[in-house]
C-alpha cells in the first residue's frame, strides 16, 4: 500500500474537521469499548490468561526458526506447499505465479492485512486476474477504491448513508438504507463469485507448528467459503504468526475476539490442514502457504521486538484517544493506532513516518488493554529516542530539549523557571481556568484548550509538607 505516513499532522487536522467521520468513529466508544470490558469480565482471571498469552507469543518468537521449520515440515507432509517471501513484491510474484500455473481467472479474498501491506490486489489485477474482496467491509472499500481504516472494522470511518450511496451507484440498484438490506444486497452480489472463483486467498490469524495448520477467525463465513469452495487456496501471512500448539491457540482465542469485538468467540474459527483427501466431497485440491518476512526479522533484532507478539485484535486503537478522534486513514499506511505507530516506522523506516511515534498521548490505555501485554507507550518512547539520536527531529524541538536538559541539571534555576511558568500559565487561564491559545504551543492548543495549572509547582507544594 502506498504510504502517506509522513503527513500525519496535516491529515489528522483534516480528519478532525470531518463531522461525518467523527460521528462514524463514535461507534468505537459506544460499542467496542464497553463490549470488550464485558467480555473480559466474563473470564475467571483475565490477567492469568493474558500472562499465558504473552508467554506463548514470546516463546514462539524466541525460537521462531524452530517453530517455522516445524510448521513447514508438518504442512508439506499434508500435501501443501510452503513459500517463503522476503519482500512484499515477492509475495505478489508468488501468488501471481500460482494463479498463472493453475489458469486462475478469478480469486475471492477473505480479509488479510498482510495482503494490504503487499498491495496484492493491484498486482493480481495487473496480471489480468480478477480479485473480489468478500468481507463486507473490504468489499465496500474495494467498490469505493479506499484503503481500510481499522484492522478489524475496515469501514469504521463510513456512515450507513455513505454505504447506501455507494451501493446504489455501483450496483445500479434502488437505494437501500436499512443495514440488514444492504448486507443482503452484498451477500447476493458476492455469492456467485464464491461459487465461480478458481482461487481463494486468505490471511492467517495463526499458523500452528504442531500440525502445520493455518487458522482464520471470521464472523461472516467468507473465510470458510474461500477455504472450502475454490480449487486452490492460498494463505498469506507473516512469519511471526506461528504458534507452537493447538492448546496455545485455544488460549490466544480466549482473548482475541474478546479484545476485538467483545465476542467470547468469533462465529467461525477455521483450522485448515493440507489438501482435500480423495474421499472428501469438497475442499481445495491445492493449498499454498506464503510466509512473509517483509521486515519482521529486522524488528525481531530491534528494541521493539515485543510488537511481534501482536495478535491484531485492534483493542489498542479502539481505546486510543488519538485514533478515536482522527480515525485510521490519518496514519497513512496499513496499520493505524498505537500498534501501527510502532509497526509503520519499523517497516517503512523511522525517517518515513516521523510523526507516528508522537501520535500518542502515552496515556497507556493501549498498554492496559493489549491482550499480549505489549508495552506500546514504552515502544513508542524507544522510537522517539531513536529519532532524537539519529537527528531526525526538527531543529527547534532538539533545541528545546537540549535547553530543558540544561535547565534540569541546575535545580535552583529549574525551580525558579518552573514557578514563573506556572504563575504565567495560571494568569493566562483567567476566570475560565482554560487556556485557548498557548504562546509557544499553537499546534497543541489549535484543537483544544489547555487546562490552566494551579499557579504553584509540584515541588513548591511538596516542600510545604512536613
Amino acid at each position: 500500500m502506498h504510504a502517506t505516513s509522513m503527513h500525519f499532522k496535516s491529515r489528522a487536522a483534516e480528519k478532525l474537521a470531518d463531522g461525518d467521520l467523527r460521528a462514524a468513529l463514535d461507534g468505537l466508544k459506544r460499542r467496542f469499548v464497553p463490549a470488550r470490558a464485558a467480555a473480559i469480565a466474563e473470564l475467571d482471571d483475565f490477567e492469568a490468561v493474558r500472562e499465558a498469552a504473552a508467554e506463548i507469543r514470546d516463546r514462539a518468537l524466541e525460537h521462531l526458526d524452530f517453530f517455522l521449520e516445524a510448521f513447514e515440515r508438518n504442512c508439506t507432509a499434508r500435501g501443501a506447499v510452503v513459500h517463503w517471501a522476503e519482500t512484499w513484491a515477492d509475495v505478489n510474484a508468488i501468488v501471481v505465479a500460482i494463479a498463472r500455473d493453475n489458469g486462475v481467472r478469478k480469486a475471492v479474498k477473505s480479509k488479510s492485512m498482510v495482503s494490504e501491506e503487499c498491495a496484492l490486489n493491484a498486482a493480481l489485477e495487473a496480471a489480468g486476474i480478477a480479485v473480489v474482496e468478500t468481507d463486507l467491509g473490504e468489499y465496500i472499500l474495494q467498490l469505493g477504491h479506499e484503503p481500510p481504516s481499522h484492522i478489524i472494522a475496515p469501514v469504521i470511518h463510513k456512515t450507513r448513508d455513505q454505504v447506501s450511496d455507494l451501493f446504489a451507484a455501483k450496483h445500479a440498484s434502488p437505494r437501500k438504507t436499512d443495514i440488514g438490506e444492504l448486507t443482503r444486497e452484498a451477500r447476493e452480489r458476492l455469492r456467485p463469485h464464491f461459487l465461480s472463483a478458481d482461487m481463494g486467498i486468505t490471511g492467517a490469524n495463526f499458523i500452528v507448528a504442531e500440525t502445520g495448520s493455518t487458522l482464520i477467525v471470521t464472523n461472516e463465513g467468507n473465510g470458510r467459503m474461500a477455504t472450502t469452495l475454490p480449487r486452490v487456496h492460498v494463505a498469506i501471512t507473516g512469519i511471526e504468526k506461528v504458534v507452537p500448539t493447538l492448546e496455545d491457540v485455544a488460549t490466544l482465542l480466549r482473548l482475541l475476539p474478546r479484545s476485538a469485538t467483545g465476542q467470547s468467540i468469533s462465529n467461525y474459527v477455521s483450522l485448515t490442514t493440507g489438501i482435500r483427501d480423495a474421499a472428501e466431497l469438497d475442499g481445495p485440491e491445492q493449498f499454498h502457504v506464503v510466509l512473509l518476512d517483509g521486515g519482521r526479522s529486522r524488528i525481531l533484532a530491534s528494541e521493539v521486538r515485543a510488537i511481534l507478539r501482536c495478535i491484531r485484535c485492534g483493542a489498542c486503537m479502539n481505546h486510543c484517544p488519538v485514533y478515536q478522534s482522527v480515525g485510521g486513514h490519518a496514519y497513512g499506511w496499513v496499520y493505524p493506532g498505537p500498534m501501527g505507530s510502532v509497526l509503520t516506522p519499523s517497516y517503512l523506516g523511522l525517517e518515513n513516518a516521523l510523526d507516528l511515534p508522537h501520535a500518542a498521548t502515552l496515556c497507556n490505555q493501549c498498554g492496559v488493554v493489549c491482550p499480549v501485554k505489549i508495552p506500546l507507550p514504552g515502544l513508542l518512547r524507544k522510537l522517539r529516542e531513536q529519532q532524537y539520536e539519529r537527528g531526525l527531529r526538527p531543529w527547534h524541538e532538539r533545541m528545546a530539549l537540549a535547553g530543558w536538559a540544561r535547565l534540569a541539571a541546575h535545580p535552583r534555576l529549574y525551580a525558579l523557571a518552573t514557578s514563573l511558568a506556572a504563575k504565567l500559565l495560571c494568569w493566562l487561564g483567567g476566570h475560565e481556568r482554560r487556556i485557548a491559545r498557548l504562546p509557544f504551543g499553537r499546534g497543541w492548543s489549535g484543537g483544544r484548550d489547555m487546562p490552566a495549572p494551579a499557579g504553584k509547582t509540584f515541588r513548591a507544594l511538596y516542600g510545604k509538607q512536613d
Binding site: 459506544r30 499465558a52 526458526d65 465496500i140 464472523n219 488460549t251 477455521s270
Partner: protein
C-alpha cells in the same frame, strides 16, 4: 545462490543471536513442549456441560431443541421446519443418511450441499460448553459445505459429546482421529457482520439460522459407522 527460505531463516537466527538452529538440547526441550500439549488457564471445572452449552448457544443466537434418541431427530427437524414455514426438504450430510427422514415427512438428499439448497442438516463432531460452539470436522461423510451454503443449518449434537472447552475438543480429536482432519470448523451461531455502523446483522455469507438439536442418548459415531456404506452408495458421484 541461497534461497529466500535460507536467507529468512538466517536473518531470524541472527536476530536471535545464533548462527544455526538451536542447540540439540534446546530442540529436544521445544519438541517436548509441543508434545506435552499443556493448557493455559481453562474455565468451568464445575459446569453442567449440557446446561452451559445450551445457555451459551442461545446467547450466540442459535436456537435449540432436543430429542431423546437419534431416532427422534427427524421428527424434531420436521417440527422446526414447519414452525419456520420452510419446506420439508433438505440436504443432509452423508453421516446422517441412515435416519428415517421419509418417516418424518422430510425429503432429504444425502450429498454435498449445492448453491440452491435452502436447508442443510449435519452432525457435529463434538460441541463446546464454554462458548456454545459446534465443532465440525470434515470427512468423506461430513462435507463442510453443508453447514455453510444453506440459509438454514440444523446441527445434531450428542449430549455425551459436549466437552468443556476448545482444549478438550483438541484432545478428543487427537485421541480419536488417526490423522488430523483437513478442516476443523468451530461454528458459533449464525454468520454475522457488524461492518456497517457496528450494527449486528445475522446471515452475512453463511447461514441466517443455526438450529441445534441435542440428542440425549446414543452416539453419532455409532450411527455414522453403520451408515458409511449407505452414505457412499447414495452419494451422487
Amino acid at each position: 545462490m541461497s534461497s529466500a527460505r535460507d536467507r529468512i531463516l538466517a536473518s531470524v537466527r541472527a536476530a536471535l543471536g545464533r548462527s544455526g538452529a538451536p542447540p540439540q538440547a534446546q530442540q529436544g526441550a521445544l519438541a517436548a513442549y509441543i508434545a506435552a500439549h499443556s493448557s493455559g488457564p481453562c474455565p468451568g471445572a464445575d459446569w453442567d456441560l449440557l446446561a452451559r452449552f445450551q445457555s451459551r448457544a442461545l446467547l450466540l443466537s442459535s436456537t435449540l431443541d432436543d430429542a431423546e434418541t437419534m431416532a427422534g431427530v427427524p421428527a424434531a427437524v420436521a417440527r422446526y421446519l414447519a414452525a419456520q414455514g420452510l419446506l420439508p426438504q433438505a440436504v443432509v450430510s452423508p453421516e446422517l443418511a441412515r435416519l428415517d427422514w421419509q418417516g418424518a415427512g422430510i425429503h432429504a438428499e444425502a450429498r454435498r450441499a449445492q448453491a440452491h439448497d435452502l436447508v442443510g442438516i449435519t452432525g457435529s463432531y463434538c460441541a463446546i460448553a464454554e462458548t456454545g460452539t459446534l465443532v465440525m470436522v470434515s470427512g468423506a461423510s461430513a462435507p463442510p459445505s453443508n453447514s455453510l451454503l444453506p440459509e438454514t443449518h440444523i446441527a445434531i449434537v450428542h449430549a455425551a459429546r459436549i466437552v468443556r472447552c476448545m482444549e478438550d475438543a483438541f484432545a478428543l480429536l487427537r485421541a480419536e482421529q488417526p490423522r488430523w482432519p483437513r478442516s476443523v470448523n468451530f461454528v458459533s451461531g449464525p454468520s454475522r457482520t457488524a461492518d456497517i455502523e457496528q450494527t449486528i446483522v445475522l446471515g452475512a455469507h453463511g447461514p441466517y439460522r443455526v438450529h441445534v438439536i441435542v440428542a440425549r442418548a446414543g452416539s453419532l459415531a455409532a450411527e455414522a459407522d453403520s451408515s458409511q456404506c449407505h452414505a457412499r452408495a447414495r452419494q451422487r458421484s
